[in-house]
């Protein structure tokens, strides 16, 4: 083979940079799903956004945070890859403390109807984990999740970590139709389906607040780094919210909480 195969574009103590084609660089912090890795992705992303807005850096088209890597889409004719790498090393240096604290997560408190017809797997999750249904609900609504990334579907948020007592592999039989709003778990992750779609996770409840509204900007309710707590609601409240035009309207701020 005449071509030298070089896939690593650059590295620091914390990451390696990998090419994903001629317009994307993937900065990889690890190969597992861990809160500490997600945090590093979020910090680098914030620093890049700061560099674009306050240091007038040109050529970065968009950034895409993932569980363990940050994809940077750039125009190589404006910002050649080695200059992008230099920029990354510069803003990632320990001296650059300014933007470390710049990321302010939003805190959400989202209502969920657990179990019954809207959480068809609540019973089986209880059985498989050796818990009572109420314990499952208490554990799931008793912790604060972080939005690790969005993907799979527009507006689909991957939240972590689900309490360890509830860790389960994906269902062996994926469902062809998971209803929109379904709150589902698999291993350390919790997801909220913005759309009806096929899916293999255990559905334990449903959140009546739309995760995606194409008429709003941004269209997705959640973004990477946000904090989320779930509050159990009853059937009547669920029905009222599902019917309420305001719930689907622009006033999403109602579900924000100032109390982390």
């Amino acid at each position: 083979m005449s071509t030298k195969i070089e896939q690593v574009a650059g590295a620091s103590d914390d990451w390696i940079a990998l090419y994903a084609g001629d317009t994307t660089l993937v900065v990889q912090f690890g190969e597992t799903i861990e809160h500490s890795i997600v945090k590093k992705v979020t910090i680098l992303n914030t620093r890049i956004q700061t560099a674009i807005t306050s240091d007038n850096v040109h050529g970065i088209l968009e950034t895409v945070p993932g569980f363990r890597s940050l994809a940077i889409v750039y125009d190589p004719h404006i910002l050649p890859p080695d200059e992008l790498l230099n920029l990354l090393r510069r803003i990632d240096s320990p001296d650059n403390k300014s933007s470390k604290e710049a990321f302010e997560p939003r805190h959400w408190n989202l209502p969920v109807l657990y179990g019954s017809g809207h959480g068809p797997d609540l019973q089986s999750v209880a059985q498989l984990t050796g818990l009572e249904s109420n314990d499952v609900i208490e554990l799931h609504s008793g912790c604060t999740f972080t939005v690790y990334m969005l993907g799979f579907l527009p507006g689909y948020a991957f939240l972590g970590d689900t309490p360890e007592e509830l860790y389960l592999p994906r269902r062996s039989e994926p469902r062809l139709r998971v209803p929109a709003g379904s709150v589902a778990i698999a291993m350390q992750l919790t997801g909220i389906y913005p759309w009806e779609s096929p899916g293999g996770w255990h559905i334990i409840g449903n959140c009546p607040i739309p995760m995606f509204n194409a008429d709003l900007s941004p269209p997705a309710l959640l973004r990477s780094g946000d904090k989320v707590r779930f509050t159990q609601i009853g059937k009547d409240q669920f029905d009222a919210l599902a019917d309420e035009p305001d719930a689907t309207g622009p006033d999403r701020t109602h579900w924000l909480t100032s109390d982390p």
């Binding site: 071509t3 896939q7 001629d22 597992t32 968009e62 190589p76 579907l153 269209p219």
Partner: protein, 349 residues
């Protein structure tokens, strides 16, 4: 009455696309956009639209469009063997693509075949479609773009800004000459190694680089599955990764070892390792070529890929700089004899 271009028959999968919806991948929203940016830009230039104006992208034959209320100029860019017919059912005239066609009010154009390629691009002078999150590109999964967030259906009325279209329709029809590189006939897919190149055994890498693959019939705007020798993972642990970013061009190798090359509507993240990424300059080939077409992968380095990208921009500019008035009009000589050859040439050029 407002001028519109009516979709008489929608064909197989016809969508409105522009250059794409950028800046929202972090929310899980793919770019969508024209699978062949060069054709998109050239088609718009032929009708005098802005380069980023939306176009109709359609697969296979079947699409039929009718000018309502006023004359409308279209430009069709695609494979040379595609066949277009204009007029009405009683008297169709046949035309090759890579030119403009001016429909008189009430006249139709019928795309009877996309020829040896899978898709074709139709630009419409003065097309006037609202943007949705910064783009008119159709992404049906999230009901974004197009006329109603979905592909075109029979009876749809595509709005035309009247002044624009009427003015341009008076000029002579133009034709373009697509250079070889913009016809995407090559069978070579140049790619950059990674991000998970090291997840494959040396036998796997050899298969990837030395084999002939074939475009399968499982091909849409999300991606294209290829048939051919299995690309072996390094070990069973290498078959799955913690989900990371997918971009158009990502070559995913699932457990079966058969490559899937992702295109514009693909998910923004995924859990299969990616041996390499097809360079942006070669990616249109996979949207254009038909099932059964052969292809081979060749790894190149990033600087070469960037240089090729620059050359493609230059070729597009040159193509746009060398439009000529149409001399030969119809394809069918018999119809040709019954038709005034001077029409459309002298008129205002």
């Amino acid at each position: 009455m407002n001028a519109t271009l009516e979709v008489v028959r929608a064909g197989l999968l016809s969508t409105i696309q522009d250059k794409g919806r950028f800046g929202l991948r972090h929310l899980g929203i793919p770019w969508a956009g024209a699978l062949c940016p060069a054709w998109h830009i050239v088609a718009n230039a032929l009708v005098g639209n802005a380069a980023e104006a939306p176009v109709i992208e359609c697969f296979e034959g079947g699409l039929q469009l009718q000018a309502c209320c006023q004359s409308i100029r279209l430009a069709i860019v695609g494979c040379e063997s595609a066949i277009l017919k204009t007029g009405n059912d009683a008297a169709w005239k046949r035309y090759p693509p890579n030119r403009t066609l001016t429909l008189a009010a009430g006249e139709s154009v019928h795309l009877s075949s996309t020829g040896s390629s899978r898709h074709i691009v139709i630009a419409v002078s003065g097309i006037n479609i609202r943007t949705h999150l910064g783009s008119s590109s159709t992404y049906a999964k999230a009901s974004l773009g197009g006329l109603y967030g979905e592909s075109l259906t029979s009876g749809d009325q595509i709005p035309i800004s009247q002044a624009d279209s009427a003015a341009k329709a008076k000029r002579a029809d133009l034709q373009c000459h697509l250079p070889t590189e913009l016809r995407y006939l090559s069978t070579q897919l140049r790619a950059i190694a990674g991000p998970q190149f090291d997840h494959f055994s040396s036998a796997g890498v050899n298969a990837f680089l030395e084999s002939n693959y074939e475009i399968s019939s499982e091909a849409d705007r999300m991606g294209v599955r290829l048939n051919g020798p299995v690309i072996e993972h390094r070990d069973s642990k290498s078959k799955d990764i913690v989900s990371d970013a997918i971009v158009p061009g990502s070559i995913q190798i699932p457990g079966t070892g058969k490559p899937i090359v992702m295109l514009n509507d693909a998910h923004t993240a995924g859990g299969y390792p990616k041996i390499a990424t097809v360079i942006s300059s070669d990616l249109p080939l996979l949207g254009i070529q038909r099932a059964g077409s052969p292809c081979q992968f060749k790894l190149i380095d990033i600087n070469e890929a960037i240089a090729i990208k620059g050359q493609i921009h230059t070729l597009i500019d040159q193509c746009i700089g060398t439009f000529t008035p149409c001399i030969v009009n119809e394809l069918d000589t018999q119809t040709l004899l019954s038709f005034n050859l001077i029409d459309g040439v002298t008129d205002g050029a």
